[in-house]
Symmetry: C2
């Protein structure tokens, strides 16, 4: 007899003074963020799918999002876990304190383990004070190099924006076709800069960053203050994936990370791959930390095995180059099934061996999320 | 024949564009911080001992410091490691990218493992842009409750200071005897608030926090702008440990963490412990994250076994209460040898069993830092 499905989607506690939330894994990220915000608290991770993804999944993949440039990934906010181990033991580790050096980092072992080491049944999150103000700058440039130079000048002036997003010309072209010329600023590269904090600080910092961007001669530059106006500028960014899908092609979203010095190299390399393999390749993502979504746009992908093989060849080239630059093949999505094929290139033999030994000690019978990358 | 000692104290690379530093474990934290600062980069962790402690030790203990309120602990900055495993294998994991979801979090496994799982031989650190401006507020209050209320009002207004330090009356008394009445402001509790960021932002935020503190009727309040003047206000804080040692008593520094709602409870409980066990107990530390250094001041500690037993009884009481509040017995120092006695209370049976299994898989012969808490 099959047991009934337990949804485990309760927010058990939100406490302002302790700045913690205790939640079950089925809570959606958007729901969590708005519930803590109602108490002047802030849960920073903001994956694009936050309306459809849960904190349990975010813990399993150590999810990020644009704001993790300033605020870090899911791991930085998990301070307590209840985990059911493969042998049936229920382990509680960590708790409701923001700092903890009791033994090894067991929390880190489970966060990002893709469900392969244990089943997380309760999560305690550390929260921040909600930053009361926000500003967004949206800039379009003739070239990706100009956008990348603007990024460097922002860092050189000592700014750490809450987000720094870039998009290439193929992404912008798809958005123009989908949304109309008026909505998408003219140019081959688009930059979105987000600031948050106190009202006066955010206004003066937005003005200073405006000057830095203007020195790079953008085609267009807009500034928004306040949540509602900022979200209008972000609407374009949030539409990129849909605009690419609206081309009718299958969007194969990779999430490589390169050292920041190779940001423009990556976009130029994607153009070479297009020529070599015959797929449109659209790049957009997190310029601030070098985590770029490289989207291979394939026709008849699900129906034609030859297309799928060609995509794999293109990915072979992409991943080999990214690894040669000192980058990694995944910044947010994990290895899972989709990148299992490249796992031997992505980690050294010694590291892969240690993965197997850890998996074996925690799940000797391989009952937890079987068939994945190990 | 014994091999020569290898110091391993080179800074191998600092790269502004990639915002990384690659260092050997013997590099001192103060040296690292000033070397990256010369390139407009920022390594935030700032343990009080930063002139005397190395990045290798900081990685082994996942060190913090006052600034980790805003910036997080060592773990948040380690993006790559070279580790020699117990079997002699050399493993490289992570790299020079700021985001990475390649497999399990092996870096987290080694950071904070107190040298018990491997020997770290190279560390790659992610760096931030150096914040160009800084302000410090120093306030003295009649009671610890007033100081704690000021802390809450700062968070409620959406501020996340870079540091928020509190000290109790015993600490202040010792500082007065050591440094003179003039240097230490009148009152039974002292609060230090640090802000960093852009020049204009920091000035306006310091003014806003001044207003919040003034509403709590402090006995004294000073504001400093700029590195040199801020450091003058911090000189008092940095002297606390020395002032306590200048009493001639042995300072037994614990570093418990309590949920922020129990900050005042902890200080009041420390006063009860003084009455019960007959030791002066001085509390100061990181009010923002509830990590408080509880210093039991013992006479004839090294010479008298009975004193040592009495100290252990006082710690039994302290740790039992901290754990009952949902706190932990160590926020920065780790378990090591000093807290080995309380390891069974500090972690559940299932968690301790998992520690043993992890230790066994990585170091079956127990050759790495033997005799510690496992």
């Amino acid at each position: 007899m099959r047991a009934g499905l337990i949804r485990m989607n309760r927010i058990k506690e939100i406490n302002f003074t302790d700045a913690v939330a205790i939640v079950e894994p089925g809570v959606f990220i958007a729901e969590l963020k708005s519930a803590v915000r109602a108490q002047k608290l802030f849960y920073p991770p903001d994956p694009a799918s936050m309306k459809d993804c849960t904190i349990g999944g975010n813990v399993a993949t150590n999810a990020g999002g644009p704001r993790c440039l300033k605020y870090g990934v899911t791991r930085n906010y998990v301070i307590g876990l209840e985990v059911v181990l493969a042998n049936g033991d229920v382990m509680r580790t960590g708790g409701r304190v923001h700092k903890n050096k009791t033994g090894f980092d067991l929390i880190g072992l489970f966060v990002g383990s893709e469900g392969m080491l244990g089943v997380v049944t309760e999560i305690t999150l550390r929260l921040l004070p909600f930053p009361p103000a926000r500003a967004t700058l949206s800039a379009a440039f003739a070239t990706a190099s100009q956008a990348a130079e603007a990024v460097q000048s922002i860092f050189a002036a000592g700014f750490l924006p809450s987000a720094l997003e870039i998009a290439d010309h193929l992404t912008l072209d798809a958005a123009r076709r989908d949304l109309g010329e008026k909505i998408v600023p003219e140019g081959n590269a688009h930059l979105l800069v987000d600031l948050d904090g106190q009202e006066e600080s955010v206004r003066s910092e937005a003005a200073a960053i405006r000057e830095l961007i203007e020195m790079r001669k953008p085609n267009a530059l807009q500034i928004a203050n306040g949540e509602a106006d900022c979200e209008k500028l972000w609407a374009l960014r949030r539409q990129f994936s849909n605009s690419l899908r609206a081309t009718g092609l299958t969007k194969l979203n990779e999430d490589v990370v390169v050292p920041r010095s190779h940001l423009v190299d990556l976009m130029e390399f994607a153009e070479k791959l297009q020529v070599k393999h015959g797929f449109p390749i659209a790049c957009f993502g997190h310029a601030g930390d070098g985590n770029i979504h490289v989207n291979i746009m394939a026709d008849r992908y699900s129906r034609d095995a030859a297309v799928r093989t060609k995509v794999e060849r293109a990915l072979d080239d992409l991943f080999a180059q990214v690894l040669a630059w000192g980058g990694v093949i995944t910044g947010e999505h994990g290895i899972g099934l989709a990148k299992k094929r490249w796992w031997p290139e992505a980690a050294s033999g010694v590291a892969r061996d240690l993965h197997r030994r850890l998996k074996h000690v925690l799940d000797p019978d391989g009952i937890l999320n079987p068939g994945k990358f190990l």
